[in-house]
C-alpha cells in the first residue's frame, strides 16, 4: 500500500494545518488545499489546475521540493501578483512520496 505523506499548510488566515495527503490518487497540492477546504471555495484552483490563473500560488517554506518551475508555471507567475522567489503554483506540485514534510503557505488572493 502506498503511504500517505504529511504536508504542512498555512492558510490565508495564518493558521497552520498538518494534513495527510494520498500519493496514489494522482493529486496535486491545489487539489489537496481544496479537499481539506483550507481556502474559501472558488478562490483556489479557479482554472482547474492548468497553470492559467495563479489562484493556487503557494510559498514554499522549506527545502523538501525544488523551487524550479515548469515553463507554464513560470509564465503564469510572471503575470501574477504577490509573487516571491519561493512562489510555486500548487497545481504544479504533484503529491508523491518525495514531498513528505513539505511546508507551504497559501499566497493571498489574486
Amino acid at each position: 500500500m502506498p503511504q500517505d505523506v504529511t504536508v504542512y499548510i498555512t492558510d490565508r488566515n495564518g493558521e497552520r494545518h498538518e494534513v495527510q495527503a494520498p500519493t496514489d490518487m494522482n493529486m496535486n497540492i491545489m487539489e489537496l488545499i481544496r479537499a481539506y477546504e483550507l481556502a474559501e471555495e472558488g478562490t483556489v484552483g479557479v482554472c482547474g489546475g492548468m497553470a492559467m490563473c495563479a489562484s493556487c500560488q503557494c510559498y514554499v517554506l522549506n527545502d523538501v521540493i525544488s523551487l524550479e518551475r515548469n515553463p507554464d508555471e513560470e509564465a503564469m507567475l510572471w503575470e501574477a501578483y504577490h509573487v516571491k522567489e519561493n512562489s510555486r503554483l500548487g497545481c504544479q506540485i504533484p503529491i508523491t512520496e518525495a514531498i513528505d514534510g513539505l511546508e507551504l503557505e497559501i499566497a493571498p488572493e489574486q
Partner: protein, 350 residues
C-alpha cells in the same frame, strides 16, 4: 425590452445546451454573457485544450465543443446579449422577471436560469494608479469591436494567447501595433508566436520586450504610456492601451440577488429541478451547489435538462407532457427547419 421564455445567464456549455433542451419543449431562450463571445471558460481559458470526459467524445477540444454546441442550438435561434453583465433582477407580480444589465439592456423572462460557472470573468487589471480614470477613454480590457482601433495607434500588453492573437488581428486594422511583455518568452500556440515573429520582421508589429507599462498619461484620453525596461523609462505615444492579463471570475452582482449562497455557489434543490430559494430562478452547472455536487460539464448538461422540464411545467401549469426522444420525434427548429431520422423503406425484395 427583450422578451424570452428562459433567460440564461452565462453562455458556457451548460447555458448553451439548455437552449437545446428548452427548444425541444418549444421554449425560447436568450443568453447574457459578460464575455464578447459564447463558450465561457472553454472559449476564454482553454479553447485549445482537450476534454476527455464528454460522453460520446473520446477527446474533444474545448473550443470545438463550443462550436458544436452552437451548431446544435442554432435552429432554436437563441438571442445573445454579449459583453454585458446581469446587474439587477426584479420579480413582477405575475411571477415573471426583468433582468437589467450593466449597460441598461432589459430582458423580460418567464424564468431565469443562472449558468454562470465560476462567475463573471473580469479582466485582471494592471496595478497602475490612474488606470480606472482611462477605462473606456483609451484603456480597453477586451477587444469587443476591432473597428474601434481602425487607423489608431495601439499598445497591447501581455504574454499569452489573447495578446498574441489580437496583435496579429489588429495589425491589419490599427495604424500601429506595439506588443509589450515583461519577458522575452511568450506563452501561446506555436503558430501564433511564429506569426507574431513574422509580422515583426515585416514591420507590422512593434515588439518591445522585456518591458512593462508603468504609467498612463493623457488629459481626457490616453495619449501616451510609460514603458520601463531594467529601470530605464521611456514615454511612448499611443491612442489605446489594451492590457490582456487574463481574466478572473467573480460571482458579481448575482451575489446580491437574495439567493442562498454557500461556498461561493448558489444553493439549489437538486432533488427536484435545480431551483434556487427564489421561485422561478434556477442555477445550473458549476455555479450551483448541493450535496454531492460535481463541477463537470456532463453534470451541467443533466441539470440544464431537468431545469427546462421544470420551467415548462411552470409556464404551462396543468398541461400534460410526455418525454419525447429526438430519434423518434425529430427536432423542429424555430427557424422552420426539421431534422428527423430517415424513414425505413418497406419494400419486398425479389
Amino acid at each position: 425590452m427583450i422578451e424570452t421564455d428562459i433567460l440564461i445567464i452565462g453562455a458556457g456549455p451548460t447555458g448553451l445546451f439548455a437552449v437545446f433542451e428548452a427548444g425541444l419543449l418549444q421554449l425560447k431562450c436568450h443568453i447574457i454573457d459578460a464575455l464578447p463571445q459564447p463558450g465561457g471558460q472553454l472559449a476564454e481559458l482553454y479553447p485549445k485544450k482537450p476534454i476527455f470526459d464528454i460522453p460520446g467524445y473520446p477527446e474533444v477540444l474545448a473550443g470545438d465543443l463550443v462550436t458544436n454546441l452552437m451548431e446544435q442550438i442554432k435552429q432554436f435561434q437563441p438571442g445573445f446579449t454579449l459583453a454585458e453583465t446581469a446587474e439587477t433582477i426584479d420579480k413582477l407580480e405575475d411571477g415573471t422577471f426583468i433582468v437589467t444589465t450593466n449597460k441598461g439592456t432589459k430582458h423580460h423572462a418567464k424564468a431565469v436560469a443562472i449558468a454562470g460557472g465560476l462567475g463573471t470573468f473580469e479582466p485582471r487589471k494592471p496595478q497602475l494608479e490612474n488606470i480606472s480614470f482611462y477605462e473606456e477613454k483609451g484603456v480597453e480590457y477586451f477587444v469587443k469591436d476591432p473597428e474601434l482601433f481602425r487607423d489608431k495607434r495601439i499598445v497591447i500588453a501581455g504574454g499569452g494567447d489573447s495578446a498574441l492573437d489580437w496583435s496579429i488581428f489588429l495589425s491589419n486594422v490599427a495604424s500601429e501595433v506595439t506588443l509589450v511583455h515583461r519577458r522575452n518568452e511568450f506563452r501561446g500556440a506555436l503558430d501564433s508566436v511564429e506569426k507574431v515573429q513574422e509580422l515583426k520582421k515585416l514591420g507590422k508589429i512593434n515588439l518591445i520586450t522585456p518591458a512593462e507599462v508603468v504609467a498612463i498619461n493623457g488629459k481626457d484620453h490616453v495619449e501616451s504610456i510609460v514603458l520601463e525596461n531594467e529601470g530605464v523609462q521611456q514615454v511612448f505615444e499611443t491612442d489605446y492601451f489594451i492590457p490582456l492579463f487574463g481574466l478572473t471570475p467573480k460571482l458579481g452582482a448575482i451575489a446580491n440577488w437574495g439567493l442562498e449562497i454557500e461556498k461561493n455557489a448558489i444553493k439549489v434543490n437538486n432533488a427536484l429541478d435545480y431551483q434556487t430559494n427564489i421561485d422561478g430562478i434556477y442555477a445550473i452547472g458549476d455555479v450551483n451547489i448541493y450535496p454531492g455536487k460535481l463541477k463537470l460539464i456532463l453534470c451541467g448538461f443533466h441539470e440544464a435538462t431537468l431545469m427546462c422540464q421544470s420551467v415548462y411545467n411552470r409556464i404551462n401549469p396543468g398541461k400534460k407532457y410526455v418525454l419525447k426522444y429526438t430519434t423518434v420525434s425529430g427536432v423542429d427548429g424555430f427557424d422552420g427547419t426539421r431534422k428527423e431520422a430517415e424513414k425505413a423503406v418497406v419494400k419486398s425484395i425479389d
